[in-house]
Symmetry: C2
Subunit: 182 residues, 2 copies
DNA sequence: TCTCAATGAGACACTGATGTCTCATTTGAG
DNA sequence: CTCAAATGAGACATCAGTGTCTCATTGAGA
């Protein structure tokens, strides 16, 4: 009888990723509940988006923890991170387009924490000599987000194969498009 | 006295890139005109977005033409393309988040044409041996869009330096993050 | 200077989404 | 089985955004 909030959030994310302008009624229907119940769980659309934001942050931080981004070679850490981040990519794609979240006076500090971890990863790779130094860690972090979102979208629209998600993002981010001999 | 439609579109794009939920009233104020005039120029918000889409397509195609994407080494063509695309990146970022444009029954064929040109560029690079073949041209195209949007956003929020736009996108897309000896 | 088209300002009704409420029904625990 | 809590369905008022209209004002060209 009790509604599973997380299941509702996942259904909402799945719908909002494809149609960010979906109505609360559509979200409720997609989650298999009534609009009344949806409003009982989340007081208003804003609260729903905030909850999705919290879920996204939690999933990303959990992914970073599972990937152990501070251990081993930085390149391998990036590969693990991307692989662990794949399930959250759809949610990330929605939040990425919800720039309403960032235009306010203050953004959720969870993003700050997450950014710090990823930036630290790229900086570590630079200091060890694995990554080039002419691309700033901040830009590499932003690029990682962008590639994750692009890949999620491209897969969602059937332009690229779902199985290639991880390798597509990782290979392009680390190796680039230019062919290397050897 | 006569309103410059293109100037209005640019002001609208500049605002909508930062706040995609901006009101028609806000858009009009940002463009320095009244809401009545805005509605005289663009019959409704939908028409405004469509006009922005047309402008974006036109700018991208003009950039592709200026960059002569079919001439010379593919890597250099990509560099030229990114450089020419920079002024349109902001508009592209807005359109990218306006997934409402793609969820309809039919998307503007301008995107199809543009995609075809960029895909052809990457495919040419692969056939010549410049680009690696384990990343599909379609994915490289999507990644290019994603990096352009990421870079535009990061600059808009002051996270990276505006001057680094072209090199950031180009270097990461072509070379990747991993450092190469010589 | 005169004229007329275009603009700005404001009022107006309309639409769609939203949030809240009620009540019948269902579900799960005791 | 019984009952309390939660849900679903629907009605309702509210509100913000939108599109349209009118009218006074502006400005460029004849």
């Amino acid at each position: 009888m009790a509604v599973d909030r997380e299941q509702v959030l996942r259904a909402a994310a799945s719908l909002l990723m494809r149609k960010s302008s979906a109505t609360m009624d559509e979200v409720a229907r997609a989650a298999g509940i009534s609009r009344a119940t949806l409003n009982r769980q989340f007081a208003g659309r804003d609260a729903l988006v905030r909850a999705l934001e919290e879920l996204g942050i939690a999933e990303c931080e959990a992914a970073a923890a599972r990937a152990a981004v501070d251990d081993g070679p930085a390149a391998d850490a990036v590969r693990r991170l991307v692989r662990e981040l794949e399930p959250a990519a759809g949610l990330l794609a929605f939040l990425y387009s919800e720039n309403q979240l960032f235009e306010g006076d203050e953004q959720n500090e969870g993003w700050t924490r997450l950014d710090a971890r990823v930036v630290a990863l790229f900086r570590r790779g630079q200091e060890v000599g694995e990554f080039r130094i002419d691309l700033s860690p901040v830009w590499l972090t932003e690029a990682l987000y962008g590639l994750l979102v692009s890949a999620a979208w491209a897969i969602c629209e059937g332009r690229v194969a779902p199985n290639d998600f991880s390798s597509n993002v990782t290979e392009l981010l680390l190796g680039g498009a230019v062919r290397r001999e050897k």
